[in-house]
Assembly symmetry: C3
Homo-oligomer: 477 residues x 3
C-alpha cells in the first residue's frame, strides 16, 4: 500500500487544501521526543534489530493484545512467559500469524504506524496480508542486516532531534554514559546534558510498597547513592541525589505513572508508611496512599532542581490477571478507568501550583477530563500543561477530540505540544506524521470556518510540533 | 415526506459518493435481530395489529416519555394505569394528540424510524402533523386489516433472517413451541433451534430479591422445572435446567439488565443472601449485591452451556416515581447514570475472561465508557465484545460517536455488529436502515481520509451489518 | 481583522449555503438574556465605561486566568487585591500586557467575542497585537467618552429585548427601582415587571453556612424583610417575602450555583442544621448538606410563586487557593469537576418533578451528563429543561457538542434555547452571534443529511434563538 499524500486530511476540498499547506510547514521539522520508552541500550549498543517478528510484533503490546482479544495466546506470539515455559520461537511463524490477522487492525493507529513504517522506513509499498507475509518477512529481514538500518543510523534518518528514555532511579545510567562518550556529530553529543539521547527520572517502582521486591529496591537505591535509605529522610535524600545523576545524564523531566492522580501533602504520614513498609507491614490503604504522598515530595524536589514533572495516571495495571500471572507486566493487560484531577491534584497545586519554579505536564486516559478538568486547570494554573493524547488516545480521532475539547478553554499554549510515547523505535516518525497531519487538519477547519487566519494557524502548527515540546519539557538551550 | 435516497449520508460530496457505494453492499442484506423484545405471541398468534395508536404510540415509551416531558399525562395517551383507573380509549384521539406534537420529535431517531415506517412499510409519503393526523389514521387502519400486514407476512417482507425475543425463566415458552410447529418455509422453521424466531434467557426478575413477588417467582421456577428451589443449590440447578429448555427453544444468548456492571465471585455469600431473602430478610446492601453475585453464576453456566452472555447495565429503572406508581414499569421513566466496567467486571473477568468457552457482549448507556473502558476491555480480553449503541444511543449521532470512540482501540472485530433493541416490531427495518447508513457514512470518511481502502471498508460494512452479529451471538450454523 | 460573513459556518459548501439561509432567519431577532450577571447599576447610572483595560480585561476572569496560566500575576493585570496591597493602576500598561499576549487566546471564544466587539461595537477592523495595542487603546478610549457608547444607548443598539441581572436576597433592588422610574420607551419600561432590565433571585450566599459572614447575612435578611430570621421558619418566611420583592422588580427566575446537584427533601434536618449554624456549630457534612436541603425548599417556593428555578452546579469555587486568598472570589480560580444529576436530583424530582406548576432549567460544566443524564431527564420530566452550554462550554465546539449530545433524546423543545451568561455587557451581542451561527450550522447539517427539512430547521432556529428562552424563562407576556 502506498501512502497517499493527503492521508488523514479532511475530505472537504476547501479544508483539505488548507490542511495541505499547514502540513507543509511542519512536515520537515525535526522530531522532538521527550517522553519515550525506548531502551537506551538499543542506541548505545547500536546492534542490528532482530528478526521482523521480534522487532514489530513480540514487544508491541498494542499488537499482541489485539491478537489475544481474538483468541491467540501469548505463547503463540512468542511472548516470553513468566516461568520460562516455552513459547513460539520461530519468527516467521509469529509473523505469519500476525499478517493473517492484519484485518483486525483496520482503522487502528497501529495499522497507520505500521503501514507508514513499512513504506517510508523499509520501502515496502504493498498491503500486508497472509499472502504477502513471507515476502514482507524476507524483505524486512534483509534490510535489518544493513548498516543503514542500525538504530543510530535510523535515529538520524528519522530527523530525531532529541529522544528521552525512561529509567528507574535504580537502573544503570551506563548506556547514557556510553552514548555521551561517542564522538559528537554536527556539534551535538549523543548523550548527556543537551545530548541527542537523554534519560528521564521514573521512580514508579520505588513508590508502591506492595509491588513485590520494593524493600530490596529501596536498599539498592541506598547502595547506588551511598546514602542510608532505611529512614524516610534518607530515602528522600537518596532520591534527590539520584535526580542529580539523572540531570547529569541529560534528564529534564521526571515521569510518574501513578494509579490515580491523588496527591496528599503530609510528609509525616509518608514517613510513617515508609517505616511500616520496610518492616513488611503495609496495609492496603497505606499502599494506595504512599504514591499520593510521594507525588508531593517529588513536586517539592522539582521546585528545587527544575525537573519537569510528568504525571500519567488512570491505568489499572495488570488488569488481565491471567496475562499478568503468565507473562508479567507490560504485555497488554492494562485497562484505563475513571480519573479525576480537580479534586485529586488540589493538595499538590495548593502547595506548588502557582510557584514559578514548578512545572507539570498532566496526561490522561479518561477523555472526559479534557474539557471538564484538564483544560480549566491548565488554563488557570501557571504550572500546569496538558500532555498530548497518550496511549490509547494517540490516534487520529483521539488527537482530534483532544484538540476540540481543550483549545477553547486552555488555548494552544497551555498544551505541551505533541510527544510520542513508545517503546517501538521504528514507529516514532509514523506517530509524529499522524499527529502533524491531524493537527494540520484540525487547524485547517478553524481557518476554513474563519476562526483563525492562515498565518495564526501556521504559527500554531509549528509551535505544537516543535517549539512547545522543546520549551515545556525544558529542552531549549 | 418521501425518504431521500441520500438520507443520513455526509454532506461532503466526496464522502457521500463513497458512502452511497458502501451502503449498496449492505442495503439488501437480511436483518439479523438477536437482541429484540418483541412479544413472541405477536408472531405465534399472527393476529392483525390493533389500531394505529395502539400499534405506534401507546406501547412505545420513546414516544410517550417525550409527550410527558411536555406536559401530557399517560392517561391522555391511553397508557393503562396500574390501578385500573380510566385512561383514553379512543385511538383516534390519542393519535391526534401525538400527531399535533410531532414537531417535538424533530431530530430524534423516533421520527426517523416512524417516517421510514410510514413510507416504506405503509406507503404514506407525506409529513405527519395535526392536519394530516386523520388521513394517516385512516390509511394506517385500512392497511392493518390486510393479510399482508399481519406480523408473519411483515417478518418476511422485512427480510428478517432471525429475531430473538426475551423471556424470563418463568415465562412460558409455548409461543416458541407454536412457532416451531408451523410449517417450515424455504427450509427454515419458524421456531426452535435454528428457527426464524428464537428466545433469549433473561432472568432479571429472579435476581432482585427486593423486586416485589421475588419469592413467588423463585417458587414458580421450582414448579416449572420440578426442582426444589428453596435452597440456593436447587435454585442454580433449576436455572441450569431452564436454560436447557431455552436452548431447545432456539436460545443462543442470555440477557442481563442489571442496575450496574458490578460482579462478585462468591457463591457462599450468594447462598447466604438467597436464604435470608427467602425468609423475607433482605437488607438493602444484600439486594444490591445479589445481582452482582448471580452475574458470575450465570457466567459459570455460560461456560458450561455456551449461551452468550449479554450485559446492559446503567439504567436507573423507574426513576420517575410518579410514572412508576401510576403506570408501572417500562413506560418511559428509566434514566441512565454513571457506569463503570473496568473495576466492576474484574471479578468476572478474573474467573472467565480468558476462557475460550465464554463470550459476553457488553452494552452501555454511558458513552464515556466507550473509549475509556469498553474498547480497551474488548481489545484485551478474548471473551468481551462491545454491543451496539443501545436505547438512547441507537441513533445517528450515537452510532457515529460509538464508532469514532471504539474503532481505534478495539478495531471493528471486537464489536458485535449492529443489533436493534426494540419492542416495536414495525420499527425493525427502519433501525437497521439507519445503522447501515451511519456505518457506511463513518467508513466512507475513513476511506476519504485514506485510512482504509474501498475494499476493506466494504468488507467491514458487510461484517458489521450481517456476519458479526451472526457470529458473535452464536447464530451461525 | 474584519469579520467574515461566513464565520463559524461549516466549510462544506452544501452545508454552508444552508447555514447561511438559516442564519438569516435569526440574525436580526432581538436578544433575550434572562441569565446575565451584569451589574444593574451599570444601566441605572448609565455612566461612561472606564478605560479599555477596566472595561475589557480587569473584570473578565476568562482573560485574566489565561494570563495567570502563562505566569502573569493578578497585580500585573490590575486586579484589586484582597488586602488592598497595590496593583497596576495604569490602564494602558495593563492593556499592553494583554495585547502582547493576544496570541494565547487563539481559538478561544474570548477572542471571537472580543474581535466581534472591537469590530461591530467599536468599529476597529484590524487585529489586536502588541504593535496595535496603543492604537486600540486610543480608539477605544475615545469612543467610550461618546454618548452613543453609554450603557443604555448600547442596550438599545444591541437590540436587547430583556436583560436579567442576578441579585442576592440581601442586595438592594434600588437600581431596578431607578430603572423602573425612567421614562418608558416605545411602550416599554426600563425596569420592573415586564421591563427591559429585570432581576433574578440568587440566594447562594445565604445557603452556605460555612461561607464567612453567613450569620450576618441571615440577620440582614431579617432586617430587610422585617421578619425574624433567627428560626428556620422565619428564615423561610423571609425568603418567601423577599422573592415577592424580586418578582415586583421583574424577576421571573431564581438562580442557584450549588457546589453539586445534590438535593435532599427533609425540612426538619434543614431546621436542625440552621439552628446549629446560627450558634456557630456547623460541621463540614452539614455545611455540604444545607444547600441540598435548601434547593428543595426553593423548589417548594417555586411551586407557590412561579419563579423558574435555574441550577448550575459542578464548579469547585476558589480552587486556586493562592488566587482566592490574594484576590478574592470570581477572579478565575474556579474549576469544574464530575457532576451527577440522575441520582442527585431524584429527591427534588420525586417531590415536584411532575408538578405542572414547577419548572427548572439545569446547566452543567460536565459534558458527560448531556447525553447520559440531562437529555433523558429533560426528555422524561415535564418540569426539566436543559440550559444552554454555560461558562467554559459557551463556545463554538461546546455548543456544537451540546446539540449533538442532547437533541436525539430530548429533542429541541426540552432545551431552554440560547442564553448568555456574562458580566461583560459589551460581549452580549457577540455571544448571541456565535450561538446563532453555530446552531444554524448544526441544523444545516441535519438538513444536508436529509434528517430535517429546511422549513423545520428554520422554525427550530428561530425557536432556539428567541421563542424558547422567552417561554421557558417566563418572559412571555
Amino acid at each position: 500500500m502506498t501512502l497517499h499524500p493527503d492521508r488523514l486530511f479532511p475530505a472537504d476540498e476547501r479544508t483539505r487544501a488548507i490542511a495541505r499547506k499547514l502540513h507543509q510547514r511542519t512536515a520537515d521539522l525535526p522530531l522532538v521526543s521527550p517522553h519515550g520508552h525506548v531502551n537506551p541500550r538499543l542506541l548505545s549498543e547500536n546492534r542490528p534489530f532482530p528478526d521482523p517478528a521480534r522487532l514489530f510484533v513480540v514487544p508491541d503490546h498494542y499488537l499482541t493484545r489485539m491478537l489475544y482479544s481474538q483468541g491467540y495466546t501469548p505463547d503463540q506470539l512468542g511472548v516470553p512467559s513468566a516461568d520460562g515455559s516455552p513459547s513460539e520461537t520461530d519468527g516467521r511463524v509469529i509473523w505469519r500469524r500476525f499478517a493473517e490477522n492484519y484485518h483486525l487492525f483496520r482503522g487502528t493507529p497501529s495499522k497507520l504506524w505500521l503501514d507508514y513504517t513499512f513504506a517510508e522506513v523499509f520501502g515496502i509499498y504493498k498491503p500486508l496480508s497472509g499472502e504477502t507475509a513471507d515476502e514482507f518477512y524476507d524483505h524486512l529481514s534483509a534490510r535489518l542486516t544493513e548498516p543503514d538500518f542500525r538504530p543510530r543510523a535510523l535515529f538520524d534518518r528519522f530527523n530525531l532531534e532529541v529522544l528521552a528514555t525512561t529509567e528507574s532511579p535504580i537502573d544503570s545510567l551506563d548506556p547514557h554514559a556510553e552514548l555521551e562518550a561517542l564522538p559528537a556529530q554536527d556539534g551535538r553529543k549523543w548523550g548527556g546534558r543537551g545530548g541527542k539521547v537523554v534519560t528521564t527520572f521514573r521512580p514508579d517502582n520505588l513508590v508502591e510498597p506492595d509491588w513485590p521486591g520494593w524493600a530490596d529496591r529501596v536498599a539498592k537505591l541506598g547502595e547506588i547513592t551511598g546514602i542510608d535509605t532505611s529512614t524516610f529522610d534518607g530515602f528522600l535524600e537518596a532520591l534527590r541525589a539520584r535526580r542529580q545523576d539523572f540531570i547529569a545524564a541529560g534528564a529534564t523531566c521526571s515521569d510518574h505513572g501513578n494509579r490515580t492522580a491523588m496527591t496528599v501533602d503530609d510528609p509525616a504520614k509518608a514517613a510513617e508508611i515508609f517505616d511500616k513498609a520496610l518492616q513488611g507491614k503495609t496495609e492496603a490503604a497505606d499502599a494506595a496512599l504512599f504514591p499520593a504522598l510521594m507525588l508531593v515530595e517529588f513536586a517539592r524536589m522539582s521546585v528545587e532542581d527544575g525537573l519537569v514533572m510528568q504525571l500519567h495516571p488512570g491505568s489499572w495495571r495488570n488488569h488481565n490477571d491471567w496475562l499478568h500471572k503468565g507473562w508479567g507486566r507490560d504485555v497488554g493487560g492494562d485497562i484505563p478507568d475513571h480519573t479525576t484531577y480537580t479534586r485529586d491534584l488540589k493538595p499538590l497545586l495548593d502547595a506548588f501550583g502557582n510557584d514559578p519554579r514548578f512545572r507539570m505536564v498532566v496526561y490522561t486516559l479518561d477523555e472526559t477530563s479534557f474539557s471538564r478538568e484538564l483544560a480549566p486547570l491548565a488554563g488557570g494554573y501557571p504550572s500546569v500543561f496538558i500532555g498530548a493524547p497518550w496511549w490509547f488516545l494517540d490516534s487520529p480521532e483521539g488527537i482530534r477530540r483532544f484538540r476540540e475539547a481543550v483549545h477553547e478553554t486552555a488555548g494552544f499554549y497551555n498544551t505541551a505540544g505533541f510527544v510520542d510515547d513508545t517503546r517501538a523505535f521504528c514507529s516514532i516518525p509514523a506517530r509524529h506524521d499522524v499527529a502533524r497531519r491531524i493537527d494540520a487538519s484540525f487547524l485547517a477547519r478553524l481557518v476554513a470556518e474563519h476562526r483563525m487566519t492562515d498565518d495564526e494557524a501556521g504559527e500554531v502548527a509549528v509551535d505544537l510540533a516543535y517549539h512547545l515540546p522543546r520549551k515545556i519539557y525544558g529542552l531549549e538551550k
